[in-house]
Amino acid sequence: MSSPAATSIRKPRWLMPFGAFAALFFIAAQTASLMLSQPDRDMGHLQKIMYVHVPSAWIAMIAFLVVFITSVLYLIRRDMKYDLLAASAAEVGVVLTALTLALGSIWGRPTWGIWWTWDPRLTTTAVLLLIYVGYLALRSFTDDEDRRARWAAAVGILGFLNVPVVYMSVRWWRTIHQVQSTPDTMDSFYAMGLRLNAFAFLFLFIFFVGLRYYVARLEHARSARVEQQALAGSEIHV
C-alpha cells in the first residue's frame, strides 16, 4: 500500500536559486563553446552541434537510469514519492531524447546528406523515445494510483534494458553513426567543451526534475485533498 498523501506541501527553497545558477551556467557553457571552438579537420564548424547533441543524449540516459532506480525503489518500498520521482525523470528524459534525435537529424543532413536513416543507433534511440512516451501514456490509463505506479515501475525497469543497447549499438552493428569518442581520440578543447556542456545539461536536468517532482507532489496532494473532502461530504468546486 502507498503511504497517505500529505495535503500540505513544503516548497523546495533550493529550487529557484539552483535553477538560476543552472540557467547561467548553461548560457556561459554554450556561448563559450559556440564562440571559442575551432573548426574540426573533418566536420569543420559543424562540430559545434556536438555541444548540444551529445550532452543531451548523455543526460537523457541518466534520466532513464533515475527512472530505473526509482522504479525499483518503488516496488521494494511502495512509497509514492519514488513513483512521482520516476515519472518526473521520465518526462524530462523524453524531452531530452526527442531533442537528441532532432539535433542529430540537423547534424546528419549536411554530414551524411540525409535527415534520417534506419541506422541501428538512430533506430534504437527512436525506440527508446517510444518506450518512455508509452510509459507516460500508460500512467493515464488508470485512476488507481497503486496500480498505475506498479505498471509504470514495470515499464520503467524493462524499458531501461534498451539504454545499454542504444549505447552499444554503434559497436554491435554496422552503422554510419560514429563510435563513442574518448578524451584520447579528440582534441582536449573539444573534450573540455563536452564536459562543460554535459555539466550544464546535468544542472538543468536536476532543476527540471526537481521542479517537475514538486508539481507532481502538489497534484498528488490536491487529489488527496479532493478525496478527503468528498469522503467528508463537503461541497467541492473544482
Binding site: 500540505s8 506541501i9 559556440l34 566536420m43 569543420g44 539535433l103 547534424w107 490536491r222
Partner: protein
C-alpha cells in the same frame, strides 16, 4: 571539410535546444503556479 555552409545548421541546432529547454522551463513554472493555486483553493497548504 564540407562545402555546405554549416552556420544555418548550427543556428538551427542551438536555437532548437535553447527554445525547447526554455519552453519546457516556462511550462513547468506555469504548471507549478497552477498546481499551487489549485491546492490552496482546496484548503491545502504550501509551506
Amino acid at each position: 571539410m564540407f562545402e555546405t555552409d554549416p552556420w544555418p545548421y548550427i543556428y538551427a541546432a542551438f536555437g532548437l535546444s535553447w527554445g525547447v529547454l526554455t519552453g519546457y522551463a516556462l511550462l513547468l513554472l506555469r504548471r507549478r503556479r497552477s498546481a499551487e493555486d489549485a491546492l490552496r483553493e482546496l484548503g491545502g497548504g504550501v509551506e
